[in-house]
Amino acid sequence: MSLLSVRNLNIRYSDAPPVINSLNFRIETGEAVGLVGESGSGKTQTALAIMGLTPDNAIATGEIVFDGKNLLGKPEQVFNKYRTRRMSIVFQDPMSALNPYVRVGEQLRRILIQHELVDEDETDNRALEMLQLVGLPDAERQFRSYPHQLSGGMRQRVMIAAALIGRPELLIADEPTTALDVTVQAQILDLLRQLRDRFNTALLLITHDLGVVAGNCDRMLVLKDGELVESAPTRTIFSAPAHPDTQAMVAAARRSEALPRLLAQPAGDRPALEIKGLTVSYAVPGERSSRRKLEAVKDLSVTIAPGETLAVVGESGSGKTSVARAVVGLKPTKEGSMLLFGERLEGPPESRPNAVRRELQMVFQDPAGSLNPAMRIDDIITEPLDVHEPDKADKGERLAEMLQRVGLDAALAHRFPHELSGGQAQRVAIARALILKPKILICDEAVAALDGSVRQEILELLRSEQKHSGLSMIFISHDLATVRQISHRVLVMYLGRICEISDTESLFIRPKHPYTKALLDAVPIADPDVGIVVLSELGEAPSVMRPPPGCVFHPRCTYSVLRCNDDSPDLQVLDGSSVACHRAAELDL
């Protein structure tokens, strides 16, 4: 008998089309199953239904049989006997899943008391033991910490501890690593594997990232619009996907590894943008007396040729967004200069001359947030024309041309942003940025919020726009796979400093900085045959507030020597790349 068996599950909200349509699958004891699909395909709805968390206004029919007993439609009291003791869930965002007012240890204790798992006087020990088990560094101290005092990765470890504290037979992990950096993601996935081996827990891993499934799951379920389109062993799906949608997903995942690169060639010898010695700092709130400054970017110099794409990558807190915002003027710069075709860029955007402003445009991460919800699409796209060329009469034609170029249906022009999908909204944002024919486009995580196939389309659009108009791009991303597809050169940042600047291909084939190597290794590979790359004990990034002395990366670096502790390396040129590492020449990474 299966541990969990979902039979003919249907979930719908009032009169809308069903979000889950006759879904059938089973999970055996100790088995790891991946549930993949794009956003809106019903992955999370399935997880919530299994845990009995379906909202009250949903109508669910069918059967969810756990260990021989149908749970669907049963009251809370019945579910509570199963939750924690027999099945648990880990959500995507640990910050919103933890109670911000209660210390971490106390939260675990409450679970133990609520479910009467151990005697009252043993709860402290058991909770602490669990925190140690999930590899929380300095667990005794963190036991008394509040959630906001922990980093994202540590919070997710606490969530896993909370989920596994009752030794459940089934763990549901709903996008457990999506909100985390790649290096941390690799560690969390590693932890899940270890714990599963130890407790023989079955796992339902929900994700949109095939790379995450490839190394972690025995079997895969592919959802599409609430229907199960394919269910097979992971290996089979990767080698011979049957359903067209699965084929497209697998192809997209593979493409991001070895891709045909069809980039426009950079042209011209005069740099489009020259950044010299850029330093961006923030006043630290609450520490005004000591005048402490947080240096988000320190002494960064780089040039971008016309028609070139420079990718800026790094973990969160590496300062990549600060660079972008400093260039466009949304962040005041402390030191350094920026030249746009020889013209100095200074001050906030309001004080820059119109001629400069129109050359430099930006596309933001959150497509919905960067469009004014009160304006119609046509007004949003043509607003730059109203500002810069109010007298010209060709507004309508240019709008039509722009809509066509970014692949939007003209009928959408009269809609409002909330009526658009994420991909459509990002196309609108791109159209708005390109209508003035800028020379430089800055994309700040512009595709991070989008699903796989939509992401490919937007990247394709950006590539063709570059060919079409020869614009330069600064492409900020934490996702190396995306970067490989779009950029000519890559700048790797760590705690506000440059680690390495290299052409894209040589960076991926032969990284020269240990941090670049660590980032590359952490990317999950969408191929079950490659197996799992076991990571060295990388740990998490230190706070930007207190950068370590010497080489900022040395506390996490496997190759560090004594010199790295106090001597900060300068950028040196090596085989056409620039690397900031003392040992770059001798290491073979």
Binding site: P349, R357, R358, L360, M362, F364, N372, P373, A374, H388
Partner: protein, 285 residues
């Protein structure tokens, strides 16, 4: 939120929300009757009739709400009072809306020192006992009708300014404002074209909640005899008159008091219903 979105959402909500339908309908009905009623009735609001004092509500001679201690027809006077009360409330709310939104949006968007000074002024005004001030003004200016609007509006805009400022601060951190800056949109255009339309929801909800507040202040002033002057009247003044006669003519108190309560009730529930319409979280549904 834009007029188009609002209109479509509003009609959708109207279909769903009973509180908007019932309360909005009642308010509209009261307003219409108060406008038409005096035309239909044969009586005038200021004719006294000393032979017909304290007539109980009756259909006879069309004294639907009875007559008062001076023999004036209470039906016409009550409708008159409703007109004045609603007028005062709406005008006062518009005054508070215009001042409050402009003040709050500028303070919130410009920020920094300008914001600090502007909001300290608001804090200082808060510290003044406004009712007391209004009473003084009434005494000095001989209960000018217009002054009541201004006085009530002047009390309410402070709250509005604070709410709008808070909303503006959270809006200006949104990426669409950054995007507008990069395009080169001027600060004024950002405030009026990008920020203000997005404030509409909060503001409309808040206005429906300030109207009852204004009604209460007006009634309170009139009850103290400082509001509308005889022979003009308002619901507050009628209640005041009724209190004096409540033992022999209870209808003089009950009818305006119940009407006042119904109007306040309806505005408050309408505000609740509208808050649902304007809640941005409902967009996703």
């Amino acid at each position: 939120m834009n007029a188009g979105v609002l209109a479509s959402r509003f009609t959708a909500e109207l279909r769903r929300s009973r509180s908007i339908r019932i309360c909005g309908g009642t308010l509209i009905a009261i307003a219409v009757v108060s406008l038409i009623g005096p035309w239909i009735s044969p009586h005038s609001y200021l004719t006294t009739d000393f032979d017909g004092r304290f007539i109980k509500p009756t259909v006879e001679a069309f004294h639907l709400f009875g007559t008062d201690d001076l023999g004036r027809d209470l039906f016409v006077r009550t409708l008159m009072g409703v007109q004045v009360t609603l007028l005062v409330a709406v005008v006062a709310s518009i005054v508070s809306l215009v001042i409050g939104v402009a003040y709050g949006a500028v303070a919130g968007y410009v920020g920094g020192r300008v914001d600090a000074v502007m909001m300290r002024i608001v804090d200082a005004l808060y510290a003044l006992p406004f009712i007391f001030l209004v009473i003084l003004l009434m005494v000095v200016f001989k209960r000018n009708f217009l002054l009541i609007f201004v006085a009530i509006g002047a009390i309410n805009w402070l709250d509005m300014a604070r709410i709008v400022r808070g909303q503006t601060i959270s809006l200006k951190q949104r990426e669409f404002v950054d995007a507008a800056k990069l395009i080169g949109v001027s600060t004024w255009r950002i405030i009026f074209r990008h920020i203000t339309p997005n404030l509409l929801g909060v503001v409309v909800v808040y206005v429906t909640l300030t109207i009852p507040q204004a009604i209460l202040v007006e009634s309170f002033l009139s009850f103290l005899g400082l509001g509308v002057q005889e022979p003009q009247t308002s619901l507050g003044a009628l209640v005041n008159g009724g209190v004096g006669q409540m033992e022999q003519a209870s209808w003089m108190l009950l009818i305006p008091a119940v009407l006042l309560a119904v109007i306040l009730f309806c505005f408050n529930f309408l505000g609740d219903g509208l808050r649902d319409v304007f809640d941005p979280r409902r967009e996703s549904r």
